[in-house]
Symmetry: C2
Subunit: 268 residues, 2 copies
């Protein structure tokens, strides 16, 4: 039994889709969320910079006595999760990419898998690498979709322009014959409905956050670190003005986030 | 006569439109450009942080023996140009906001001026403040256009979807009756052609970089610091990986930028 919170972080607000998945599936667990809203986006930054920023965030989360970490940010997952595990031995650090890979391997029937993400996630080649390590005969097709994040953050998830952008990015990918598509960026689950309309029911959409939540549940159970039935608490921290996070939490969580605290993350 | 380079800096790659304006109008002048690509965007950071970052950049540019500085970044212009001038007495520090304001005042015939920019620039209210200080009877209308920067960086300046986004953002602004529109973000001049098509010839598009270039030309002439007719050189520095700057320089400058150097800007 361990009442300490789970730390979840992301380069910005997108990781709230992971918070939502954990809130729904581990309702007893308290959460400390950090969004690096002053330094977002990570997707266009180098591995060295992303590793440095992530280590600062984990040091901050350690001051909040977290029992485990979920890295919601695909860019951090793809670039430096192993480096971070080495930097913080003894602290369980889980991600979203490995769970997303497991889900896709279960989902595909024709061994053709698509991946979409930020430029950095796609350039890292992490998803294809992990998928093919498990099943070398897979055909993997990927595509960076840099406009999806700004469209979601503009509140345009349902906008007709967003549907056109989805068509532009994804119809060529669909023509490869994939039967499963990994939503390899935390913002993208907000576009599930529109992407589903464009691609149709024959392509399964994989949200890694779902499996990431089950993954942390298994981990806590196996190490006897689950929380008991007391009321879970959710705390939100950002590196920028809190107002934007409050607005985005409405879009992403559909949960009233009134208390958001600003942190001087560069001092960690 | 002074052969030393002009220093130009921005939070990222957008300031390349200012580089382009200076290259075209002051063809004898050498340029040192710094883009703070590891810490972009500035728009969401506090005044103290933006001032600190800018001072680090100016100290770096001083090591390259610059004779004057142009701050291409609208956020720095809006937040702390006076503080920076006070911190570096003797070094001419010019901006883009003040020149943009002068251009708009000359351009308007009906005293109705529009301003578009990032969320932070619009929220700062700096353009309306400076415009109304000069001419209190002005009607000023502004609009944040957060999707323009990612569309330009995606290389979609000419894309039909970009035209639709321009219509969505700017037709309501045009309906106010403005006859001049300030492109208050360094990326937006890349959209001049498409914006012009949407708004038609009755609305003049103001690119502050144009006047910023003339402004520095006048300054150098009046202080006898113009360069002579020798070949100008252009050097580019960034705080993150150079590859992205090279790609963006192709989009922004249409000039082959092969040498970009990474700088540890936090050490300045």
């Amino acid at each position: 039994m361990d009442k300490r919170p789970i730390g979840i972080f992301d380069s910005g607000v997108g990781g709230l889709t992971v918070v939502k998945a954990v809130m729904e599936r581990l309702s007893n667990e308290s959460i400390i969320y950090f969004g690096d809203t002053a330094r977002v986006p990570y997707g266009s930054k180098s591995k060295e910079t992303v590793t440095k920023f992530s280590a600062q965030i984990i040091r901050f989360l350690q001051t909040k006595d977290v029992k485990a970490i979920i890295i919601a940010c695909n860019t951090v997952n793809s670039n430096c999760i192993e480096e971070l595990r080495a930097l913080f031995p003894g602290l369980p650090i889980e991600g979203v990419v490995e769970p997303g890979v497991r889900m896709a391997l279960k989902a595909t029937e024709n061994n053709k898998i698509g991946i979409i993400g930020t430029e950095a996630t796609v350039a890292s080649g992490k998803y294809p690498e992990l998928l093919k390590a498990e099943r070398p005969e897979l055909e993997v097709y990927d595509r960076a979709c840099p406009l999806f994040v700004p469209l979601v953050e503009e509140g345009w998830a349902q906008h007709k322009i967003t549907k056109e952008v989805i068509e532009e990015y994804l119809l060529p990918l669909a023509s490869t014959g994939i039967d499963s598509l990994i939503l390899g960026c935390t913002h993208y689950p907000m576009l599930t409905e529109q992407i589903g309309k464009v691609l149709g029911p024959s392509i399964k959409l994989i949200n890694p956050a779902t499996e990431a939540a089950f993954n942390i549940k298994r981990l806590l159970k196996s190490t006897d670190k689950q929380s008991d039935g007391e009321v879970a608490t959710y705390k939100f921290y950002v590196s920028d003005h809190p107002s934007r996070m409050q607005k985005m939490a409405q879009i992403f969580l559909d949960y009233p986030v009134t208390q958001v605290e600003k942190v001087d993350i560069e001092s960690y």
